[in-house]
Amino acid sequence: MPTFVYMTRCDGCGHCVDICPSDIMHIDKVTRRAYNIEPNMCWECYSCVKACPHNAIDVRGYADFAPLGSSVRVVRDEEKGTIAWRIKFRNGEKDMELLAPITTKPWGKHYPDLASEPAPSQEMRNSPLLFNEPKYIRLDEGGLHTLESNGQKLKEGVYY
């Protein structure tokens, strides 16, 4: 289930707006605080939860992930270089705290440069992993949908 913002903790800094990969964290026009504009499209990546400097964002649990009565919260502290999770189980007894370094590689090195990676070769496209793409993504014939192929242009700014 999607993220939601505790309005008493949010101060409208915009870090979650900046980091959301689905571009669904935005600023409420009435209170100028952050909120999730499209909960259906949230895939609970926890980017906004980790980015919020005030820990004002939480994720609603669903099914076997954080069922009713339990809680999953995270604090990503970049200055310390650690990520800490606290998972409270709904039986009220198990309360796990997990602490780990954010990265085990040396800091400042080994950033992946995805732009310089080559596109999949024909052999890879014929492999079982990729043979049904992009046809099965777009459900008809043709290449991958892009903005250009659909005659669209990206407009600067946020419209919602």
């Binding site: 008493t8 903790r9 101060d11 409208g12 800094c13 915009g14 870090h15 707006v17 900046d18 980091i19 935005h26 600023i27 409420d28 026009k29 009435v30 209170t31 100028r32 980015a51 400097p53 005030h54 820990n55 809680s71 919260r73 995270v74 604090v75 970049e78 200055e79 310390k80 270089g81 650690t82 800490a84 999770w85 606290r86 409270k88 705290e97 997990l98 602490l99 780990a100 370094p101 954010i102 085990t104 800091w107 600067e156 700014g157 946020v158």
Partner: protein, 277 residues
């Protein structure tokens, strides 16, 4: 000009009683608006429910003295120095706006109630503070309006695109700008009318604007401190000391990959402003 009481000069056309009645009326509007806001949004009800729910997860009981100490810390940190803002530009702008507003409103009230007539000598400090308050409010407010507002900073909105959330800041800026213009033009009628209009909008729209945050935020800040002190921490993990051997024993990845005295890693995503739109 900066040392003359503009309301004393105004008393020739508008009687002091009317000015004083207006101030009292605006105070009543603020009180009424805040109460209505609380009732309508049920914010007080949810706030106390949330506080009770958090208290159930508390690991220790807070004594009265501890609570008083937390209240004092909230007052000195979050209220007086706006320490809740981690972004220093926002903090600076908020401090200028907040203290400008307080000084401006306080000196207005003092001048209207204690020195309303031209024949009583107004201490020069009051008009000076009045002008400084309005100036601080204007500078901090315009800085916020053009550069710091999150819709402008993080969402590529143009500064002239208004939303309901802008009601408070726009009326504040209008009030301070027209007050300064009224004084600088030695009492020009147009700026007086606009000044009164802006102040009236500011104080009567408390139900729909962000005005009441000044009452709610200290309560939220105090409650946040309580959750940290009583161990409930809003279900967040504890603030671990990475050099503590007990922590290193419990989480062996830390000493294995970061050493026994992990360095400060520096800012990550926070080193840049959130404006990658």
């Amino acid at each position: 000009m900066f040392t003359t009481n503009p309301f004393a000069e105004l008393s020739a056309t508008i009687s002091p009683e009317i000015m004083q009645a207006y101030v009292i009326l605006m105070v009543l509007f603020v009180i009424g608006g805040t109460i209505l806001d609380t009732l309508h949004k049920k914010s007080a009800k949810y706030f106390f429910e949330n506080a009770e729910k958090a208290a159930k997860n508390a690991t220790r009981e807070l004594s009265g003295a501890e609570k008083k100490s937390l209240m004092a810390k909230t007052l000195t940190n979050e209220v007086l120095t706006s320490s809740e803002f981690s972004n220093q530009k926002r903090r600076m702008s908020h401090l200028m706006t907040m203290y400008g507003f307080i000084v401006f409103v306080a000196t207005t009230a003092i001048m209207i109630f204690a020195y309303p007539e031209a024949k009583t000598e107004t201490p020069a400090i009051l008009p000076i503070l009045w002008h400084l308050g309005a100036l601080s409010l204007a500078v901090g407010g315009y800085w916020f309006w053009f550069f710091i507002r999150v819709d402008v900073l993080a969402e590529a909105k143009k500064w002239y695109q208004l939303a309901r959330a802008d009601l408070f800041i726009v009326s504040l800026l209008a009030m301070s700008t027209f007050a300064l213009l009224w004084s600088l033009t030695s009492g020009h009628g147009l700026f007086l009318v606009l000044f009164i209009l802006a102040s009236t909008v500011l104080f009567t729209t408390v139900l729909w604007s962000k005005f009441a945050h000044m009452f709610f935020k200290p309560a939220a800040a105090y409650q946040k401190r309580v959750t940290k002190a009583d161990g409930s921490r809003e279900n967040l993990p504890a603030d671990f000391d990475l050099t503590d051997p007990e922590v290193q024993r419990k989480f062996p990845d830390i000493p294995e990959y970061m050493g026994t005295n992990p360095p400060n890693m520096g800012l990550g995503i926070k080193r840049e402003e959130p404006r990658h739109y």
